[in-house]
Symmetry: C2
Amino acid sequence: MSDHEHTSTHIDEVDRSILKILQSDGRTALSEIARRLDMGSATIHERVRSLEEQGYIREYRAILDPKLLGIDQVAFVQVETTAGRFSEVAERLAEHREVQEVHEITGDFDLLLKVRVEETDDLSEFLSKLGESDGVRKSSTNVSLRTVKEDGRLDLNGQ
Amino acid sequence: MSDHEHTSTHIDEVDRSILKILQSDGRTALSEIARRLDMGSATIHERVRSLEEQGYIREYRAILDPKLLGIDQVAFVQVETTAGRFSEVAERLAEHREVQEVHEITGDFDLLLKVRVEETDDLSEFLSKLGESDGVRKSSTNVSLRTVKEDGRLDLNGQ
DNA sequence: AATGAAAGCTTAACGCC
DNA sequence: GGCGTTAAGCTTTCATT
């Protein structure tokens, strides 16, 4: 197997363990990680710093409850763009506050947006804006009636 | 309107400020939050504890980079279930490791799944399992060719 | 609810291996 | 790359208001 990576060395099992721990609790103390992995905390400190620098760890966040905060109207909007302009339109739509996700997708439409707002009124307002947007030919919306699961964590156990 | 809430009182502007700070950096020190909001750090400590207890803060997490970790095949799968069984099927599908989201939606299908795997082979394997699942009548899959935006943060600035 | 102060931990930087 | 040490800073508790 050839080493065709950039500058980023490949991560080892210790790094993967650190990522798993921090993904499930981003506030775990370095000293606690060191204890669990039976290593010095200066070592863990250096590895975490390197994982952050290489970009494996993008950021740390508190995960808030959308329902309690009243921001729990979710809709998925498929968008058909004028020929060949989907990337440009995607970038533009990504700037909207209510748009949480933008994907270029296969199928009858070109883009899929995940939109999150407080009330259905806000959704209807967004769809008006969308309809008038440059490069948008048509759209089709599916509203989420109930979110059964919503979990951004990555499965680091590789099968 | 009857008071059918538990014990949770409504949150004030200070609480919202704390949530904003922790949503954008979950590792911000309590003492740093105290400095920014010009309050004692014992006060911030107590408020954060209460926000956690009430459920406004669900958890703290490191956000990892799916691309660097090679878990970057995303697909959206719409599922039609046998009449009236969508909730039950939704719960069951939510248990799969590769399923990040499950929504009950309006439209021609009943459920929308967001699926994330390492390779297209894993996706095809998942779709096989799905097709044989109890209560699943048919499904339609759109693969994400490029994720332009993917951000789970809530907009706490309320318009 | 909010606070200052004190005790116990944690982080981050250093030099050594 | 990994480690122990150490100073600075942080969290957590508690008595006071």
